[in-house]
């Protein structure tokens, strides 16, 4: 794509960026009767048409602004690419959720940079924190910026397009040897928040670390995530979204669909495929195929969900 000047990034990097196509290829998923079905690789224009009408929202995750290691020396740059891609979508999503690790080291400048880029989408963004957003000395930068109107360490709920959204925090008070953690206070709040909701209300839970057990050996799961899932059992349509593992993963269990978004910063290996879950170094040309965003579409009264994963480069 022309017209994007990343001039000070060095010649080879600029070349990569200039060669990048913005075709918007992605996989459109539909879930009918609990069975996920990939409709194939389509471009984002078709995806938007296929998904319409209905409410569409976008998920981005794990921007790790401040990360500058070999796996991706410019995490802010690839976040900007994701934002450009979002801005080029033919149909504007209703809003966006960010499932955490906005920053890499919870530094004020990292939060500022992330905000400067993400705000260019001009979308409402609903955040939950990742563990990387909660490591400043007094653990207040995230909360000062995003915590207004939230409970506890930053959990909250809201309604949009007939769907009830719940943002959960599972990166606080992590215990030795354990996984992600919601805690009794948050679980009590969640139970209360869902009480009285009609069982036909579609529910979306989103949190940074997977609420389901993906790979406990790498801490990819939430100790008390099962409790949260019990509370949503009776609902007709439940979608659980998370980040943290930097790769697309999907699972359907009864009326609950679990989905993990890509990172906009760097890929991580498949469970057990490497000695550690650390940043995966891939060839420059492959990196953007492993980063990206997800857009999710709801068709009301159809119990039908379409998830479109859009890599930065298809």
């Amino acid at each position: 794509m022309s017209g994007h000047d990343h001039g000070d990034d060095g010649v080879s990097r600029r070349k990569v960026l200039e060669c990048m196509t913005w075709a918007g290829t992605g996989v459109l998923w539909t879930v009918t009767g609990g069975v996920p079905r990939a409709l194939g690789i389509i471009d984002s224009a078709q995806a938007a048409t296929a998904a319409a009408p209905g409410m569409t929202f976008l998920q981005i995750s794990d921007s790790h602004v401040g990360f500058d290691k070999p796996a991706n020396p410019n995490a802010l740059g690839t976040l900007e690419e994701a934002v450009n891609k979002i801005n080029a979508m033919p149909a504007k999503p209703s809003f966006m959720i960010h499932t955490g690790d906005i920053t890499h080291l919870s530094k004020a400048a990292e939060f500022d940079n992330a905000e400067r880029i993400i705000s260019q989408t001009k979308l409402d963004v609903h955040y939950v924190p990742g563990e990387h957003d909660f490591i400043d000395e007094e653990v207040k930068l995230y909360r000062e910026r995003y915590g207004r109107g939230t409970k506890g360490h930053g959990w909250y709920s809201f309604d949009a397009g007939g769907v009830h959204f719940v943002g959960l925090v599972n990166v606080v008070d992590l215990k030795a040897g354990g996984l992600g953690n919601l805690g009794a206070e948050q679980l009590a709040w969640l139970e209360d928040d869902l009480r009285g909701k009609s069982k036909s209300t579609p529910i979306v839970l989103f949190a940074h670390i997977p609420l389901w057990t993906v790979y406990p050996e790498w801490g990819w799961g939430t100790e008390d995530g099962g409790r949260a899932l019990e509370y949503v059992k009776g609902f007709g349509s439940v979608t659980v979204l998370n980040g943290h593992i930097h790769q697309v993963m999907q699972k359907v269990e009864g009326n609950v669909t679990f989905h993990t978004a890509r990172s906009t910063a760097f890929p991580q290996p498949a469970p057990g495929a490497a000695p550690s879950p650390g940043p995966m170094k891939v060839e420059d040309a492959k990196l953007r195929g492993m980063l990206g965003v997800a857009s999710i579409n709801f068709k009301q009264n159809e119990q039908r969900l379409a998830i479109i994963d859009t890599p930065l480069q298809g």
């Binding site: 563990e131 990387h132 992590l174 030795a176 406990p216 790498w218 550690s276």
Partner: protein
């Protein structure tokens, strides 16, 4: 108990070195130990040390980690190549973990 930051550690080392030159009999820091973080693992995962030993952790991953032993010691977040040192002045078993990646655990046995 004394927690050393990197600068203190440097000063201490040079003092220790000077002491060692002046008094060859002084056994300064000969028993100090290192733990490395590689691939989300504390290595060695278990250390047996004597009272008075200083242990230094070095993060060699591209991802930040912490070193936390509840109520005993807590490092700042260690970015790549950052170090944290702690001198063990009391005997006992010190279980510790990374508060960012709690599946990472280690043990220091002080006798």
């Amino acid at each position: 108990m004394k927690t050393l930051n990197r600068r203190d550690f440097g000063v201490d080392l040079s003092l220790a070195l000077a002491a060692a030159i002046l008094l060859p009999a002084t056994k300064a820091r000969a028993d100090d130990m290192e733990v490395h973080i590689d691939n989300f693992v504390f290595q060695p995962a278990e250390l047996k040390i004597k009272v008075g030993t200083t242990v230094t952790w070095t993060n060699r991953d591209d991802i930040p980690h912490t070193v936390v032993s509840a109520g005993k010691f807590r490092s700042k977040t260690l970015d790549t190549d950052d170090k944290f040192s702690f001198t063990f002045t009391n005997a006992g078993d010190y279980k510790y973990f990374c508060s960012l990646h709690p599946h990472m655990t280690g043990m220091i046995k002080v006798e």
